[in-house]
Each structure stands twice: as structure tokens, then as C-alpha cells.
Amino acid sequence: MSTFASATLTPERPADEADLAKPRTLRNTYTGSDHAFRGITFTGGIIVLAIMLLVGAFLASNGIQAVNEVGLGKFLTTANWAPESNDFGIAAVLLGTVQIAAVALLVAMPLALGTSLFITEVAGGWLRKVLTSMVDLLAAVPSVVFGLWGAYMLQPNIVDFSKWISVWFGWIPLFQVDGVDPASPLRDTVPFTASTFIAGLVVAMMIVPIQTSIMTESFRRAPVGEREGAFALGATRWGMIRTVVLPFGKGGIIGGTMLGLGRALGETIAIYLIISPVFEIKFHILEKGANSIAAMIALKYSESNEFAMSALMAAGFSLFLMTMVVNFTASAIIAKSRSGADSEG
């Protein structure tokens, strides 16, 4: 921090006293304990950085063996996962991961936007405090608990809705479900279970808290002067939100949404409990059978030999790269939207 930087002071003096007009340098003198403190904390920083860089390095070095075996191009385009017969690739799981994350984002983003506007603009006093606490609590709920809720409570109740969508909007390929006769009077919901859609819904509830807290933080920073200006010009509350809060919070909305996307891409156990894994490229999100990289790793690691493990490491590395890119971008957007908002108290 700049507090400890050395500063130069130039006193105003008459020009003829040239020897006195030299700027006086103020220097920091660190004592022995200060040097020890700086050294020890610096070491801590290096260790943490090393651990974090080692994660990527280990995955890459372990995964490269499997990728070399089949070639990078084939690894990226093969849908099947059979390392024992050298026929494996991440095309299907990568697409599945992106589909689940997309469903989650589509559901979570409006929910988070509405909740954070509710917290900052509508609710007041104790209600605001309670809501903030509850959103933080939602973030702390373990993913296995979310997975159980999704598999045993949400799924039996949501399949009718899935069926309704596929009956009425089945002409759109995305909502098409094969092997179901809409005219049949039997309540056959099995083809609608364990789908991308249901996994996406559960993941959506898991990423709402992080999105909400980032958006809430950015909405709170919208300046009071502009808010009152909008009200003084006769705006309604929504008019004020549309013209002041949302434009000022744009960075927070985009950044928070992307942070949520990063979480959604890496979610494991909840998806693992819900989906029935398939290794094919498919776009029918309501249909039984889905997959994601993280769920595949959790599913396959126990039955893997050393080479298959190397293949899983390669898949893990691609997931790692994807989440890091998304997250770095999100952090940069949030940091940019925050700049200049802080001031020393």
C-alpha cells in the first residue's frame, strides 16, 4: 500500500538560498521485526501462488500422456469415453457441461437480478438484513444436500412441467423428447427424468447466491445523488432503477453472472446425483440422459487404471482452463466496474 512508500517534500524557499532548496527525502526505516514480517508474509504469498499454479501444472503433465495417445484433434471431437480401447474424447461431456450451465444461467440470472433489486431497492430495515443473511446461508448449503433435494424432491415434481413443455413446444428441436406418445393416457414421466434441464435447475439454485451477492454489492454503489435526482424528476421506483441503478450496476450484473457461470461449469455432486450419464452429442435438454466433465470424473475415477486416469486428468484440465478463463474475465469486469468507487475513510 502507498502508506509505506517513501515521499519527497519540496518546501518553498527563496531562490538565492540554493543549498537549502534541495528537496528533503523522507525515508522509511524498517526495523528487524518489520523485515521479518515482510519476509514471512512474502513467503506465504509465494507458497499460495505455488500451490495454485501446481494445480494446473500437475493436471496438464498427467493428462498429456493420454492426449498424445489419440492426438489433440481427436480428443476434442470424440464423443465416446472408452480409454481402454483408445476411443475417448470430451466433445459430448464438454457440450453437456455447457448445456447444463446455460440452463442454470438462464434460470438463475433473472432470479438473482430480481432478488438483488428486491434486497437493495424494495426491502428495508430488518427485512434487508434477513434477506442478505439468507442468501449467504444458501451459498453455504453443501452441494450434496442440494443434490439430494434435486434428485428426491424437485425431480418428481418437475417432470410434469418438462412433459408439458415437450408436448406444446416439442416442435422446437431443443425441447423434443423421443419415444413419448403425447396422446397416451398413461402418466409416463420416466423419459423426462435425469435430464439436462433438471440438473440445470438445481445448479441454478446453487449459483443464485454468488450472483445475488455480487449484484447487490454493485447496486448499493449507485450514487444517492443520481437516485434522488431521478425521483425529483418524477420517476417511479422502477424508472429510477432503470435509469440509475441498472446502468451503474452493469459491471456487477455481467461480472456476477459470469462468476455464476464459472461455478456452474465446475459443479459436480449435485449433477452426479441427478443425471444418468450418456456419452453422445445431443441437444434434447428435456430428455433422459445428460453429462458433464465434473460428473464424469466423479463417476469414472474408481474404475480407471493409470491410463484412464490420465485421460480423466486431461478432461479435468480442460474444465480447469474453461473455468479459469470465465473467472478471470469476470474478475476483470467486476474490478473495472469497482474502480474509483472506493475511497479512504
Binding site: 515482510r38 499460495v48 428486491f118 442468501v135 452441494s143 450434496v144 439430494l148 439454485m205 475415477y301
Partner: protein, 414 residues
Amino acid sequence: MTVLEHHDAVGAVTGPVAADAPRTFLPQLDREPGPAEQSRIRPGTSGNAKLAVAGAAAAGLSMGLLLTVGIGLIPAGWTLIVSYLWFVLIYSALVFMREQYSAVRDRFMTVLMVSAGVTVLGTLALVIGFVFTRGQEPLAYWNFFSQDMTGVGPLSGLDQGGILHALVGTLQQIGIALAITLPLGLTTAIYLNEVGGRFAKVVRTVVEAMTALPSVVAGLFIYASVVMVITHQTNGFAAALAITVLMLPIMIRSADVVLRLVPGNLREAGLALGAGQWAVVWHVVLPTVRSGLATAVILATAHGIGETAPVLLTSGFTGVMNLNPFSGPQTPLPLAALELVRSPVPQMVARGFATAAFLLFVVLILFILARWVGGQEAGKATDAQLRRMAARSRQDLPRIEKNYHDFNYQQEKE
């Protein structure tokens, strides 16, 4: 306190001053903090507006019940959704009868915002309620907490077997993880804030990105670096390391945010009094954010306890008590819940739900503890804390006054 004179707003003495006794004026530290400032604009709270909401809600519910249960046009499961849609429609129409278009849009959007908040809160309540309801049966048996799963077959009743082994596993693993994370995380957070520089920026960027590290990737990393290279078997220590990799960025980030709240002029005051950097950190910065740092640690612990995917790859699975984290598989709570639920036997599934409910209970306790320790907002003192600080400060007064008297006495002697 011996404040007798009248003094005006800036503290200048205006009344008669006794020449003989030197006096010290203190600000009134024991005064209660004043009430928070009311927000100046409070739109949309007239009685008419409230009645319109209530009326529209009643009408919407009636329409929903009529269309689903009454006529049977739509299946009964849709009652709530149909009622909600009718409520929004009727409410918008009600507002439209009295107000302009912009007001209608305002109310409509307000309804949507409230609905989003209610949906999120409702989901939280559903998740907690569902897991506790499904898991309540095994939780009623004391042996659930006092036994492990040794000798428990698929047909054993709920009065046999429990999760003591998983509880011990979680405690040992989170203990090891905290023993590594706590010093390393806090040191790094202090480095980022107090030392700074270009390298600190790099570390901060990497740590922020790592908060979104997929949990299963952390498990893979420890599997590749520890299990495959060093231990050659899954054990509790490897699981603890995997939890550490995930907890470390979370703790550093939240501690970093807390430390950022320390006002710069507090540090400058310390430096101006001649303290070194280390003395300022130890005597000024850290005491200021003690409660915030405690909150950061507790919340990171709550996240670490619930991690499932990394321990799935590194801890191994067993139903038997294992007190040694360095040898043999050692199952923690979330993994025990996962494995039990995947069993086809109903009693095992019930035990799995009970384990998840217990895990959720622990997380809830930690969360409440964090709120209680840290207050609502990190870095801000509650009223009670402010009063305690004032009381401590008043205890210093006699010492200061004594020094002052001694000083004057010595001067008079000379």
C-alpha cells in the same frame, strides 16, 4: 469524569474557569449511538396500494382454485402457478384503473422483484425442510451418533449402526485443513494488504480466480500429486489436503476483503506515533478486524466441511472407524451421505438423508456462529461492541490523568 464548565459546540470553554485545577475534557464516550437516518424517499406504501395487493392476491387465488379444483380445466398441481399469473394480471389491471402507465409498470416490476426474492427464500426453506423431514427417523436413535457401520447389514434396523466414523473423519480432516489454511491464509491476506506491490497483485488475481476452482479438479490434483506419488493409497490426510486447496482461496479472499475495511488513517496514526510496520499490523490492524477475520475463518470452515467431490477422489470409502488419517480410507460426513443414499436399501437411504441433515445442521450452527461473532457486516462494530470499547477507553482515563498531574507537579518543583 469531572466536566463542570459549560462549553459550546467546538469545545471552547465559555464558563468560569478555575485557575488552580487542570481539567481534561473527554468526548461523551458512553452516549448511545443515535438512531439510523431514515431514507428520505419512501415510495409506494399508501393504504390503497396495500389493499390493492391483498385484493388481487385473493382474486388470483380464487381464479386459480376455480380453474383447477373447481372446473378441473387444468391439473390440480398447477394451482399455485395459475393463481400467481392471475394475481399479476388482476393487480396490474387494478393499478391501471387509478394510475398512469409508468406507475403500472413500476408496480408490475416490483411484483416481479418480490417474486424472485420469495422464490429464492422458498427454495432455501424447501431444501432445509425436505432434508430434515426425510432424515428425521435415524436422527431419533442415539446410536446414530455413537456407533460406526461395523456389522450393519442391509436388513439391520435403524437401532444399529451410525455415523460416528464419518464424524471423526470430518473432524480430523477439517482440523488438518484448518491447521494449514489458517496460518497460510491469514499470512497471505496480510501480505496482500499490508505489504502490497506488483507481486501481491499477481497473487491476488490468481487467488480470486481460484475461488471458482471446480471442487472435483482439486480432488484430481491431490490424487495426482499426493495419492499417486506419495501415499499410494487414499486416506484422510489426502482428503484434508484436497479440502485445503479449496478452502485456501476462500479464506484469503474473505480475509482480504475484511482487511481492506481498515481505514488508512488508523495505520497512518500508528506510523505517525513512531510504530514500525509490524507493530502497526499487530497492534492496530489485526485488533481492528479481529471479529471479521473470525467470521472469515468460520465461513471457510463451513464451506470446507460440505465439500464432497474432492474427498470422493481422495479419502476412500469405509464404514469402519479409522482414527489414523495417515493410513487407510477415512470417510467424512458428506461422502458418507452420498454413499448411503446411493444404496438401494430404504434404511440406508434414510441414514444418508439423516447424515446430510446432520451436515446441514453443523453448517447452520457454524453460519449462526459466524454472524454472532462478526455482527451483520464484517468490520463494523455492533452497539454492544461500541459500548465495550468505550468502557475500555474510559479505564485508561485515570492513568492519563495521573501522568498529567505528575508532569505538572514536576514542572512546579522545577
